[in-house]
Amino acid sequence: MQIRVDGKIIEVAKDKTLLISLKNLGYKIPSICYQEGLKPEGRCRLCVVEIAGKLVTTCNTYPKEGMEITTNNDRVKVARKVNSELLMSEHVQTCSIENQDHELCQIIQDLGIRESRFNPKRKWKVDLGASVIRDNNKCINCGRCVQVCATIQATYAIDFAGRGHKERVAPYSDHELNDVACIKCGQCIAACPVGAISEREHIHEVIEVLKDSKKHVVVQTAPSIRAALGEEFSMPAGTLVTGKMVAALRKCGFDKIFDTNLGADLTIMEEASEFLNRVKKGGPFPMITTCCPAWIKYMEHFYHDLLPNMSSCKSPHEMLGILANTYYAKKINKPRDDIIVVSIMPCTAKKFEITRPELTSDVDFVLTTREVAKLIRHFCIDFKNLNDEKFDPALGISTGAGAIFGASGGVMEAALRTAYELGTGKELTKVEFDQLRGPKGIKEGTVNVNGIDIKFAAANGLANARELLKNKDKYHFIEIMACPGGCIAGGGQPLPVNEEIIAKRMEAIYEEDRLLPLRKSHENPIVKKIYKDYLDHPLSKKAEMILHTYYTPRSEF
């Protein structure tokens, strides 16, 4: 379809909004409240252009034959300027306009605004959650967090309350986030254009323990960190920085650098065995994975009937955490109290997870990818120019199966690789399960193990999970990850994220798997050694005791 933009005739798609088409064509149209893939809400009113004498928001307007658009006359400019000044007045002015992380601040710079004519007026109480912090003093009521929590996560933990200039984002009945059914996934953090929501930081606590010479501080890094951390140091998305990451952590002063991928391999050993056990016993099916603490909390709030379906496996970093405190502590002859475990995770939900009483403080601190980048900067380390180093071998050798945990579908793929071989005694010739890869929200497939067609599925994003669970009885084995795309797009990962960046991170993770000599968890020599020296065999009494856990039903509100 042809329309006229600033006098020039251009070709646009009929079914795309003007905002999308014009942005794709390189027109600079500011917008804040619209987010890729979600329904435009038309809140911020920055994306206006003039059409037929009227100012019109482009985010919710579709082209019409013969439409004439002016994108940048004085009237449009004044409107954008005034509206961004108003937004600025909401976003406390202690935020330096130079803050390039904030989309709003970027827009304000682009519009050439130096200060707002309107002074901040309100003062809100900061909601200091255990893993997610909301500061309404910075919030510009764009609604992106609310939309994500409802549409992507089907959790509805936050909404708007109050009206007019008293309107604010708030959990149910102005409670704190800690006291409502929020699953701590942190997707609202990733959605916020002004940093009004953020993770509860634990950097300073970690710096303190690093100073304490009595403590033996070990750190472990999740599978998805190495595929994203580079972005924090202006490297292109999808750069694998495993070696530099290990080197940087060593420079920060951690005593041992371990790999959560090994924890993932262990999880697979236990989970695959648990699954084969259920196949033998005939259920309960589907068995559902439990690596994602946000999903676990979601189940505890909204899906009590699934309690028997959940795998009893702890998440990989918790498995590695308890092994560091027991198996490893014994090996190096240290009392458990002197071992401090820090997990570098893509995830805010894991900050909540480590406070669960049943997990007995095996992990002391969780830092997100963003926090660890800050930590590295705190120690003035020139990340980009570090030479690659290797994980400490004691708990630092892993397989490709552990590596792909970071992408949605990866846990299932890794589990199937092992379940197939342990179940059939035959070798799996093609280890890739293509049905489980790619950006889709729900993926499924079938594999034959000993004459039984095992139906499996993976969902990412809890709204998708809800969809999948409607037909849960069709499946034997289900993987659920809360974040869209899996942990590579976790709530603690570098910002901004978009579909393109997620795809690149995903590629990097599968690339790592492809390049590793060992690609199945049960081939991991350290895993074998741990079972031989310490745990006996998967699901042994000892393994049940330290690698498995239980869940507690919670209220829906």
Binding site: R43, L55, V78, V82, S89, F118, K121, R163, G164, E167
Partner: protein
């Protein structure tokens, strides 16, 4: 008054007898238009809903008379509820809706009991008519906000399209009309001499005889003022319709088109009189307070802007502003009008823009003297 005539179910019975097409054609021929402000032909609106394939449909009567200075719907509900209910029943019959809602303004609690009694008395059909009480938000005068409110969500306006005629209440095709329109339906159907031009005007403010007047559309403003006996400096058409200088426009005919020429909106025909002793800045501040309170908070210009407009006006009123503040005020008011999401914001500053246009000297006199 024409509006107080009764049809005593004759129109409804005839509707049952003659069918929906007859009603739609008659309403079109007689020229009934919506009295909520937009003036859309009622017959055409009903026909659109009639033509929708969906089996589940609804009728909503907008009795959320929230516009300051408007009280004509209240008078109808008090004095002629039977004809109103009959109008609702006819609408239901035309589109085969089984259920209708009367969205009654939260502050009209006192009318509820009597209205319910009338429903029980008049409605012998199997149509269910339910009174739904608003919680007192002005924005719920927006039809999409009413629908969201009945559905149990926050009374926020939603984007159109989809229009209520296609996807209204519970996403089903819906007729939504206001009280005056629906009351006129039976009258237009039954009375041979029914006059589409007769409209209700709510007159208030500094006049000796405030009240509801039924006048022909196009009557000069001065005639209404004479009936009410007042000496205006300025006229406000409700809060949203903006203001004009009386001397300059006293002969203006009261039609939407003519009033628009003075940059005002006739809307629901509320006329509020400000006399010569009252400062236009104080009136503006008062109205600004109303909007600051009523803004729903959804979009930037209205949520933040209405608060800033009030702050600047208060500053001017206290003699603490300088001339740059008047410029900021005007610029802000125009952006709020041009870029707000819904009708509330788009009209929230008409009164300020016009006040500066017609009474700029008054503003300048109040500026900080030390400048």
């Amino acid at each position: 008054m024409q509006i107080l005539k009764e049809s005593s179910m004759m129109a409804f019975n005839k509707t049952v007898e003659k069918g929906p097409k007859w009603v739609i054609d008659t309403l079109k021929n007689k020229g009934l238009t919506g009295r909520g402000g937009a003036g859309f032909p009622t017959g055409t609106k009903w026909e659109m809903v009639f033509n929708e394939k969906e089996t589940e449909k609804y009728v909503v009567c907008n009795a959320d008379e929230g516009e300051p200075g408007t009280f004509k719907d209240r008078m109808i509900i008090e004095k002629n509820p039977k004809t109103l209910i009959e109008g609702i029943m006819i609408a239901c019959h035309v589109i085969t809706a089984k259920k209708a809602f009367i969205y009654l303004r939260g502050e009209y609690e006192c009318l509820k009991e009597n209205l319910q009694k009338t429903i029980d008395e008049v409605n012998t059909s199997d149509i269910e008519i339910q009174i739904f009480q608003g919680a007192g938000a002005y924005v719920c005068g927006d039809e999409t906000a009413i629908l969201r409110s009945i559905e149990g969500y926050r009374g926020h306006p939603s984007l159109k399209p989809p229009f209520p005629t296609v996807q209204g209440l519970f996403e089903k095709p819906t007729i939504i009309n206001n009280v005056e329109t629906l009351t006129n339906v039976p009258l237009a159907l039954m009375m041979d001499d029914w006059d589409p031009k007769l409209k209700l005007f709510s007159l208030s403010g500094k006049v000796k005889h405030p009240g509801v007047y039924e006048l022909k559309e196009g009557t000069p403003l001065s005639k209404l003022i004479k009936l009410g006996d007042g000496e205006p400096k300025a006229i406000h058409f409700g809060c949203f319709g903006g203001c004009l200088a009386y001397e300059q426009f006293k002969d203006i005919p009261l039609t939407p088109e003519e009033v628009l020429k003075a940059d005002c909106f006739l809307g629901s025909c509320a006329v509020i009189v400000t006399d010569k002793k009252t400062s236009i800045i104080d009136v503006a501040t008062n109205i600004a307070k109303f909007y600051e309170f009523e803004s729903c908070g959804k979009c930037t210009p209205c949520r933040e802007g209405t608060m800033r407009v009030l702050a600047i006006l208060e500053n001017i009123a206290m003699g603490q502003a300088n001339s740059a503040d008047i410029d900021t005020l005007l610029e802000l008011a125009i952006v709020i009008r041009d870029t707000s999401f819904c009708g509330l914001g788009q009209t929230a500053t008409n009164h300020v823009i016009n006040a500066i246009k017609y009474f700029r000297e008054e503003f300048e006199e109040r500026l900080c003297k030390s400048e």
